[in-house]
Structures are given as structure tokens and as C-alpha cells.
């Protein structure tokens, strides 16, 4: 009589069924019958074997009949198994929630019957808990301790008794994974069936090699990578290898005592496909096996491959220090190429190889010392030396602004950070492995924020009166960091429509700190080019227009600038030709905003005069403007750099823009 036509939706039950199939060498789950279970029970000496297996208590606790010997429960085990199997039902009013099978006689009833047959008195039977609990089905909950998680706190999960009997075979394939019992669970039953069969074989060999008197320790020899290798081997053997959709859920659980827990690692189909492609690459399959076979490498490798992120062990490195330091050479170039292809970053490789070639041509003596170090890329000086190489290459027309932007860690981050940490590792890798290229690969950075910001400032520099001095300073390593941009922007305001938000986005970080060094370095590359394209000014689309905090802050300073102009016009109106003194105002503002040392003195004076003017006009007593109103950044902090920029920028803008009607009125 067939018990199951196919597998169920319960991973524990399915693994137990697959174990039985493996032990009895069955071709299908439908071949499992009650009589076969009975026969197999004796064939594998299930009671004695389970008593010896250490994994049994992780699966069924030590409160079951095999380990709780107070009531001589050992004799109940065989009786219960036999009673359930001999009286298998496939019809009845009850529906098993685990398997969907119908049945009439409940587990409690069978248990009581088995106790009777084992010679227990009615009184003894009455004192026993005969409910289904996690002693019989792992993690299913017990009325005695998990009642709140069970229906109405007084009903156990409804389970067909045959499932309890079937589960007794699960220990015969239960290996450890992440310190818990492994369950192999997949919608591709062929895959999980084959994996369980291999696990059964492993455990059966272990059982056979140990004396009958000894207990069988848990098998904890395999890592996640090992199990994945098994899966890949199995999939490779399938004829429909390419068409099968395979995912894998690897359960790790324990049902033991107070340490009951469960977690499931999901290995999605796309990750299996990636691993398959690497595995079938004859140039790297041995290397991949080595990585997956070691716990310390397998986890990080699989995680990185799944998330399409950089895997740190691709690159040469040194672990530990002193005499215990271990030098690691990194993966093979073939593996590197294959990995980068799988994570969709192949386009980085030609550039890295090209820069490795530039290093050979332009390296300094100091750089040579770094290059011979396994983990040279990790030295803070590496970036400095590499930048020197790139500047020299630029001067020889072998490098340029767009190529440089292409290697930045974040091409869309403003203010610009001239860091290329990801490339440093890759470049050092190819230098280390002596892989180079002389071909400069095509670059696609047109729509990056960094390129747009560079073009924005370059266009202003190119039109500035002091363009040659600025270029000279930017290309001079000793002067580069000193070059500022405020004066260039203020002067450009006369002919160019610039928004304050653009300047803030390019030069200030999220906390409104001034950050110009990345920009200066990148501009050094551009102005070191032998051929420098002329750029037309183009406004940046800044998201800061939607930043309410910043907009309110700008509006406040703009209001001061307007008040100051109103004061100024009020005082000097009619002093010349009788009209508004625009030119005089401009001539006052220009030296004001160029002033650095006396700026605060002048600002205090401007605030005082403006307040006096407003008090007279509006007949009020209180000052409208205070220094701290203007010298507090949008976040309310006393960060004067951005405040000075905004006051100067908006005063200059006010001196240029036509007077608004509201001011006249």
C-alpha cells in the first residue's frame, strides 16, 4: 500500500522520505509502503542505531523513549513504531496538516495502544504525555512549553502517525551545517533527493566504521561550499542541465532542549547558475573547488558572488603580522576575469591592466618599494604614488580627465572624492601578476555628476581673467591644494547665471563642510592634459532646490542682502545723477566680498547700518539682523565657511541684479 504519491511541502518529512528511498534503494517515493518501513526498521536496526547517533537528540530531544529510561521507555519505541506502521490508514475524518494525508486513528491513540502492548498499566499510561510534541516531530511545539503558539493553546498540530514513524529515519542522513542539523530543501526534488542520498551514504559509512558499542558523533566535516559543490556535481550529471530551474534552501536547525532554533539559507537559482558557469570553466574549476571547500573562504565568496560585490580574497594580501604573517597571492588571472564577468564588472579590467602598464613606465623609486609588497595596495602612500603616475601619463597624453573619472570609487558623488580604492586593488593585482595592456579602453562617463561638475568649474576658469595663473597653480603639486574657487565664481556672476545651490553642491558636503581637495586633484589631471577642450558653461541640475532647510536659509540671507541694498540706496540715492546708486553700490560690494581679514568688521558695520535704517523706517526699537543670524549654517551650527560664501555670493548677486519692485516700494 503506497503511503505517499509524491513528496510533501514539509522539508523534514521530505528529507526523511528521501533517506528511506536511499536506504532501500527505491526509485520513487511512492514505493514506500508500511511493510517496507517495517522491513527497513529491522534491516538498519533503527532503534539501536538511533540510540547511538548523537544527532538523534538534536532532532528529537532526549525526552523521548530512546533516551528517557526512567520508565524503561526503550521498550516502547519498537512497540510504537510497529503499532503505527501495522495499522496504517489512508482514510478518515482527520487531515494531516504536515502531509495532507487523511487518517482516523490519532497518534495519542496509537501511543496508548503501544504502551499497553509494552506492558504498561493504565495508571502508568495515564501519567504519560501521549500528545504529539517536538519529541516526535522537530520544532512542532509542545503543549507543555509552546502552548501559546499552538491553536487555542490546547490543540497540537494534527499529524498523521505515519509521519512520526517516517521521521525516525531522518537521523540516518542528518549531517551538520552551521552547527545545526542540515535539511536540503528544493523545488527541484531530484536535486534534494540526490543530496540526501549522498548524506545517507556518508553517515552510513561512518556508522559502519564505528564499533557497535560506541556512539556515532555528528558529521560536521562539510561547509556551505561543500554542499554547493555536491549540488553542482549533481546538476552537472543531469541531462537537462541548462534547462532545470534549481534553487536550494539549506536549513540549519536544532530541536535540542532549550537551544531549539532554526534558520534557512537561501541559495537562489541565479546564484546556482553563476556557480555552474564558474564550475564548468575548465581553467578555474579546481580553484573554485578549493575556495568552496574551505569554511573561511566559502561563506564570503558565496555572499559576494550573490550580491555582485567585490570579494576581498581575489586580491593579494597579508594576514596577521610579524612572524605569523601569512602572505596570500590572490586568485589566478583567469579566476579574476571569470569572477568579474559574473558580477557584471568586466569593463573595469582593461582599464586596470592599462594602468598597470602606465605604472611600469612612470613609477618612482618610492613606488617600486610599494609594488613589491604583497599588500602594497593597502598602503596609504599607494594612492599618492599612483596619482603621480597618472599625472605623468596625462602630461604624455596617455591619460585624461574622463579616464580618471572612470576609475573613481563614486563617479556620481559630490563634492568630488579623488579616491579609487576599488581600482587600487585591481591595479596592484595586475601589477603583481605582471598582466598589462597598452590599449586605453573606451570610457563612458558623460552623464556622471563628477564630469558635469568638472566641466562647470573648468568653463568658469577658462573664462576667468587669471586663467593662466589658476592653471599654473592647479598643475603645481605644491600649490594645487591652495587653489580656491569663490573668487572665480563671484567674478563670473557678472556674466553668468549661477545659482548658489550649484556652488554648495559642488564644494560642500551634507553637513556643509568645505570639501575642495578632490576637485583640485581632478582638475590637476585636466589642466595637465596636452589637449584641453574648451567647455561652455552649463548649469547643474541640483537636488538642493528641493531642500527646504537650505532654501529657508538662503532666503534669510537673501533678505539681509536686500535690506542692506535698501539701506544703501536710501542713504546714497540722489547723491550722483539723482537716480539709484547702482554703480556706487557695486563698487562698495566688490571690495567688501574680496576682503578676508576685515570681512567680519565690515559685516558688523553693514548689519549696524542696515538695522538703524530699518528702525528709522519702520519706527521699531529692536535690531532686525544679528551677526549670528548670518553666521549659522542651515543645520544651525556655527560653521562660518559656508556662511561667508553665501553672504558674499548673495551680496554680489544683489549688486548685479536689477532692483525688484518690492524693494522700491
Amino acid at each position: 500500500m503506497t503511503i505517499f504519491k509524491t513528496y510533501t511541502g514539509n522539508a523534514m518529512l521530505n528529507n526523511a522520505l528521501m533517506t528511506i528511498e536511499a536506504l532501500a534503494r527505491l526509485k520513487s517515493v511512492s514505493a514506500i509502503t508500511p511493510s517496507l518501513l517495517k522491513e527497513l526498521y529491522h534491516q538498519v536496526d533503527l532503534k539501536e542505531t538511533n540510540k547511538r547517533l548523537k544527532n538523534y537528540t538534536m532532532l528529537f530531544t532526549n525526552n523521548g523513549p530512546l533516551h528517557n529510561n526512567k520508565g524503561n521507555d526503550d521498550r516502547v519505541y519498537g512497540s510504537l513504531f510497529s503499532t503505527i506502521v501495522s495499522n496504517f490508514e489512508s482514510e478518515g475524518a482527520n487531515i494531516c496538516e504536515i502531509s495532507g494525508l487523511a487518517f482516523q486513528t490519532t497518534f495519542n491513540e496509537f501511543y496508548e495502544l503501544a504502551l499497553k502492548e509494552a506492558g504498561f498499566s493504565n495508571k502508568e499510561i495515564g501519567s504519560k504525555d501521549t500528545n504529539i510534541s517536538r519529541t516526535w516531530f522537530p520544532l512542532i511545539g509542545s503543549l507543555g512549553s509552546d502552548a501559546q503558539a499552538l491553536p487555542q493553546a490546547k490543540f497540537t498540530v494534527q499529524i498523521h502517525p505515519i509521519c512520526i514513524a517516517v521521521l525516525q529515519f531522518l537521523p540516518l542522513s542528518a549531517l551538520l551545517y552551521k552547527r545545526g542539523i542540515l535539511l536540503v530543501d528544493s523545488s527541484n526534488f531530484e536535486l534534494s533527493r540526490e543530496m540526501v542520498a549522498q548524506n545517507t551514504q556518508t553517515l552510513s559509512e561512518k556508522i559502519q566504521n564505528i564499533s557497535l558499542k560506541e556512539s556515532v558523533e555528528n558529521v560536521r566535516d562539510f561547509s556551505k561550499g561543500d554542499y554547493l559543490l555536491k549540488a553542482l556535481d549533481i546538476l552537472a550529471e543531469k541531462e537537462d542541465f541548462e534547462e532545470t530551474y534549481s534553487d536550494l534552501n539549506m536549513w540549519s536547525f536544532s530541536n535540542s532542549g532549550t537551544g531549539a532554533n532554526c534558520e534557512i539559507d537561501r541559495i537562489p537559482n541565479f546564484l546556482i547558475r553563476k556557480l555552474q558557469r564558474l564550475y564548468t570553466n575548465a581553467k578555474i574549476d579546481i580553484e573554485l573547488k578549493g575556495i568552496l571547500a574551505k569554511n573561511e573562504t566559502a561563506y564570503s565568496f558565496i555572499k559576494s558572488l550573490e550580491k555582485n560585490t567585490d570579494w576581498s580574497l581575489l586580491y593579494p594580501n597579508v594576514f596577521g603580522s610579524g612572524k605569523k604573517a601569512i602572505r596570500y597571492e590572490g586568485v589566478s588571472p583567469e579566476f579574476m576575469e571569470a569572477y568579474y564577468a559574473e558580477v557584471g564588472k568586466t569593463e573595469l579590467l582593461p582599464t586596470a591592466k592599462y594602468i598597470a602598464g602606465l605604472i611600469q613606465q612612470y613609477k618612482s623609486k618610492a613606488f617600486e618599494k610599494l609594488l613589491v609588497k604583497t599588500d602594497g595596495w593597502n598602503d596609504p602612500e599607494y594612492k599618492v604614488e599612483l596619482f603621480r603616475v597618472l599625472v605623468k601619463a596625462t602630461e604624455d597624453n596617455k591619460w585624461g580627465l574622463e579616464q580618471h573619472i572612470a576609475i573613481l570609487d563614486n563617479k556620481d558623488e559630490l563634492p568630488i572624492k579623488n579616491t579609487y580604492y576599488q581600482f587600487q586593488k585591481l591595479i596592484h593585482y595586475f601589477t603583481w601578476k605582471k598582466v598589462q595592456s597598452n590599449t586605453l579602453p573606451p570610457i563612458y562617463v558623460l552623464n556622471t555628476k563628477v564630469l558635469k561638475a568638472c566641466k562647470w568649474i573648468i568653463s568658469l576658469i577658462q573664462k576667468d581673467d587669471k586663467v593662466n595663473a589658476i592653471k599654473s597653480n592647479l598643475t603645481n603639486p605644491n600649490e594645487n591644494a591652495k587653489v580656491g574657487f569663490n573668487r572665480i565664481v563671484f567674478d563670473a556672476l557678472a556674466n553668468t547665471e549661477i545659482a548658489l545651490e550649484e556652488v554648495i553642491e559642488i564644494l560642500y558636503d551634507e553637513e556643509y563642510n568645505y570639501r575642495k581637495y578632490g576637485l583640485n586633484e581632478v582638475l590637476r589631471i585636466f589642466f595637465s592634459q596636452t589637449d584641453q577642450q574648451e567647455f561652455e558653461f552649463e548649469n547643474l541640475k541640483s537636488n538642493l532646490n528641493r531642500d527646504a532647510l537650505l532654501q529657508n536659509w538662503i532666503a534669510k540671507i537673501k533678505s539681509f542682502a536686500n535690506d542692506y541694498r535698501a539701506y544703501y540706496f536710501g542713504r546714497y540715492q540722489g547723491s550722483g545723477n539723482g537716480g539709484l546708486p547702482h554703480n556706487k553700490f557695486q563698487k562698495t560690494i566688490d571690495p567688501f566680498i574680496k576682503e578676508n581679514d576685515n570681512f567680519y568688521t565690515l559685516l558688523i558695520e553693514a548689519i549696524f547700518n542696515t538695522n538703524q535704517f530699518i528702525k528709522e523706517r519702520e519706527h521699531t526699537k529692536d535690531d532686525k539682523w544679528k551677526m549670528e543670524d548670518l553666521m549659522t549654517n542651515p543645520l544651525g551650527n556655527n560653521n562660518r565657511n559656508i556662511c561667508v560664501l553665501a553672504v558674499k555670493f548673495l551680496l554680489k548677486e544683489t549688486s548685479i541684479k536689477p532692483l525688484e519692485l518690492s524693494i522700491i516700494n
Binding site: G9, N10, A153, Q158, D185
Partner: protein, 225 residues
């Protein structure tokens, strides 16, 4: 069928538990079960909704799975009565989903008013996993043969080209008449709970898609009557 009632719900947290993992910690299924969604509908209607009353489709997604450590006030049943556990409370790890979004499609257009003004507060999992109803609309749909079913729960048959978690679930439950006598599970089947980030295109029966600028495909489940 060319029109369905679409109800969009969202919340801060949700706990669609993986059934039958009751001891130790709690872990989540990638999607809620049909019986759970039926319960949410019943909550809005203010009564028990029976499986035969409605055809039901849903899509479920969330930001991430996180873990909560909760104090559990344990109970035990001694065969006669439910009482506080003799060992008192314990700490319990619970997995939960953050920022859940559940879109439900049902063929009962006449129930729209209940979702506009729900009688109960719907929740997905624990009592604190409350959902708000973002939108209730009647949408035009058309039948399709193949669709992206990430975030769905499909009856499993061998050969379904989808990855996810296989689960044995009762489609729905029938409340027993006698108070305190529990409920009866109906039609226990194997389902596959497909994670929302699994974008595989699947050929399946009873697939529909909404007629919108960006159509959404879903499976409409018909309960066993």
C-alpha cells in the same frame, strides 16, 4: 472576468510565519498564506469569510527581514486547563519583515465599501503588525499565460520553474461550531512561496495582469469548494 477589486495595504512590520516551526525561534515565510489573507479580508468585513465566497490573488513584498527579541509570556496546557507556564517568561527571537506592502485582488467588487471603511484593524502576523489600507480601486484585468510572480504563493506542481520555499498549507480553516473546539483545516496542499525579489517569468494557470501603464501580473487563487 475583466474587473477585480484591488486593495493596497502597507505597514511598518509584518510576520507571515513559516508554519510548523513553533519551538525555539520564529522564522518568516516569503509571503503570507491564503488563509492569512482571507483573515485580513474577514477582519475588514467584520465577520468570518469562508473560502468559497471569494477568489483571491495577492502580491507581497517587503524591504528586509529583521529579528526581534521578545519576552514571551508562556502558557502550558496540562490536559485540563491552560495556565501560566511554571517557569515564567522567556526570551524569544522572532523574524519579521520591514515595510511590508500587500496588494490583494478579489472578485467581490461588492465588498469595496468594507475596505473604504473597514470594521476591524487589519494586521499581518502579530497584533502589532497592523496594516493601513492605502488604496481601494476597481481595476481592469486581463488573463495572461506567463508572468512575473515574485511575491506570490502558488500551488506547487513538479516542474514549476520557480525558486522559493515549499510549504504544506491548509488553503483555509473552518471555524468549528462549538466554542473552544478549535478549527478544521481545509484542503492541505503543497504551495511554493516565491520571494518578491525572484523575478522569474512563470507559465501558470489563472494568471492575470492589471491594465495599467506598468501592468502587474498575479495568480488568482480559487479555493476548493
Amino acid at each position: 472576468m475583466d474587473k477585480l477589486l484591488e486593495i493596497q495595504l502597507s505597514g511598518w512590520t509584518a510576520t507571515p510565519r513559516l508554519p510548523f516551526i513553533l519551538s525555539g525561534n520564529a522564522i518568516c515565510m516569503h509571503t503570507p498564506s491564503y488563509s492569512l489573507v482571507l483573515g485580513i479580508i474577514g477582519c475588514c468585513l467584520g465577520r468570518v469569510v469562508h473560502a468559497g465566497e471569494v477568489k483571491l490573488g495577492f502580491k507581497y513584498k517587503y524591504d528586509t527581514a529583521a529579528q526581534d527579541m521578545e519576552t514571551r509570556h508562556r502558557l502550558e496546557f496540562d490536559g485540563k486547563r491552560i495556565k501560566k507556564h511554571s517557569k515564567g517568561t522567556d526570551a524569544y527571537m522572532r523574524e519579521f519583515h520591514t515595510s511590508p506592502k500587500l496588494t490583494v485582488w478579489i472578485d467581490r467588487l461588492d465588498w469595496k465599501a468594507y475596505f473604504d471603511n473597514p470594521i476591524g484593524t487589519p494586521s499581518l502576523g502579530r497584533s502589532q503588525d497592523i496594516l493601513k489600507i492605502d488604496k481601494v480601486t476597481i481595476v481592469r484585468v486581463s488573463k495572461i499565460e506567463k508572468g512575473n510572480l515574485g511575491g506570490s504563493l502558488l500551488p506547487f506542481t513538479t516542474g514549476v520553474q520557480a525558486g522559493g520555499q515549499l510549504v504544506q498549507l491548509a488553503e483555509a480553516y473552518l471555524e468549528n461550531n462549538e466554542v473552544g473546539s478549535g478549527r478544521t483545516p481545509l484542503a492541505s496542499k503543497v504551495f511554493i512561496s516565491i520571494p518578491h525579489d525572484n523575478g522569474a517569468e512563470i507559465i501558470f494557470n489563472n494568471l492575470y495582469e492589471t491594465k495599467e501603464e506598468i501592468p502587474v501580473s498575479f495568480y488568482l487563487h480559487e479555493f476548493v469548494k
